[in-house]
Symmetry: C2
Subunit: 223 residues, 2 copies
DNA sequence: TTAATTGTGATAGTAAAGCTATTAATGTAA
DNA sequence: TTACATTAATAGCTTTACTATCACAATTAA
């Protein structure tokens, strides 16, 4: 399926809406590739400017700094996930099936769950896994939270949390379990690839490992 | 209890061992306060140099860059945790009690579990919670892993994992559960403080919340 | 005792990163 | 046609990140 996603993005994320001009779209789309290749620490607006044949100052007209651009990309992912979850579970009858589907999406059995878009989705996933929690793990978290920039993440957790409640209304930690599911899925995809001794992955179970672990974790908590 | 911890720190972490000179100890001890106050992104060797009345170049004689200094601090914490766990569980008979004790330590019911040291322990904890996973969430993770700089973290997970196995030998994800326990404890301490809607914390359960959630998560997984 | 060696921190840089004030060009409205 | 507003480019500045070299003191060697 090919769709043109357009989510309501919090205007505090940018100085000028990058969706509304060709240069803006070039900035976002090329930054996704560049951040993925270099990592956010080595990524600079200068390098991006060179890549898209414009000047640094032009990029500063759209984004306050590279951290805001990263948050823009990660926000886009949160909205995308929210949308994808709705899309995937709408025809499933049982809460259990819906939860299983969410776990599948987060474990990235990608071929089946991916929706394509204008952006390089594989690069966005890698960015979110490696850089995602840097958008809140810093000293300005409270100020950024005040202007609602983490709302899409909270909404996503709220959605998953409600499903958990539907499945087992006596469970006391549904929000925590939802955020833990999202965070643990990202970390585990990173660990299985880079630090496998922090997991129990091996050659045989490689493809399904993260999915199995997350299913075990979530359903044992909920039952 | 007051103790003078001295762990075997991997020599790749520094250019010159900071434990072996007064200036080296000043560098580490003051960097802990400064990184805690500024965050690793705003922390610079120049600011640290000003604080300790020496030059930037002096600091560069000890540490390659601020990321290595952060990894030094986080490594110190991993060793400390490993030591503290041994110290706290040695007199406990049952695996269940031992696991409960580890969860207590990680939930930071601090007053009881803290061992004091030359360094500002409260600052180290805050650094680990906010900056800890930045030491591996980057593009050079594989090179750093090759020179064994994550070994103390892996050893810590191995220790916790073995306890899980003793408690329930049929559980298949003991390493994953160990790393998830450590990571989730850090994230949840951060969330309850800064992004409470990602959890189910409230005014009444505030103090014990993280501990309850982690206990529920771990023992349901293991039973 | 003097000369050579070694280990230390200080000085003084450079290149890149991060950001901004000003100017120039283009499009729109009166 | 002129005034105004929007947008990008130019050129800069400050800070960060890092390094080459120097100076000094302690140690050792002749």
């Amino acid at each position: 399926m090919v769709a043109n996603f357009s989510f309501h993005i919090n205007p505090h994320l940018f100085k000028k809406n990058p969706e509304e001009s060709a240069i803006g779209r070039e900035i976002v789309s090329n930054s996704i590739d560049l951040i993925n290749n270099l990592g956010i620490e080595n990524f600079t607006f200068k390098k991006l400017a060179t890549k898209i044949q414009h000047t640094e100052a032009t990029i500063y007209r759209y984004f306050e700094n590279k951290q805001m651009l990263l948050l823009y990309i990660v926000s886009w992912y949160w909205h995308y996930l929210d949308f994808l979850i709705d899309y995937k579970i709408q025809n499933l009858a049982e809460p259990k099936q819906k939860i299983q589907e969410i776990i599948s999406i987060l474990s990235q059995n990608l071929s089946e769950t991916k929706l394509t878009s204008y952006y390089n989705m594989a690069a966005i996933f890698e960015i979110v896994i490696r850089e995602g929690n840097k958008v809140y793990l810093h000293t300005e978290v409270k100020e950024i939270n005040k202007i609602q920039l983490y709302k899409p993440y909270k909404d996503l957790c709220e959605k998953i949390s409600l499903l958990f409640q539907t499945y087992n209304s006596s469970y006391k930690f549904s929000h925590s379990l939802a955020s833990t599911l999202v965070e643990t899925s990202h970390l585990h995809i990173f660990f299985t690839e880079n630090l496998p001794r922090l997991t129990d992955v091996n050659e045989e179970n490689k493809n399904s490992y993260t999915h199995h672990f997350l299913s075990d974790l979530i359903f044992k908590s909920l039952n």
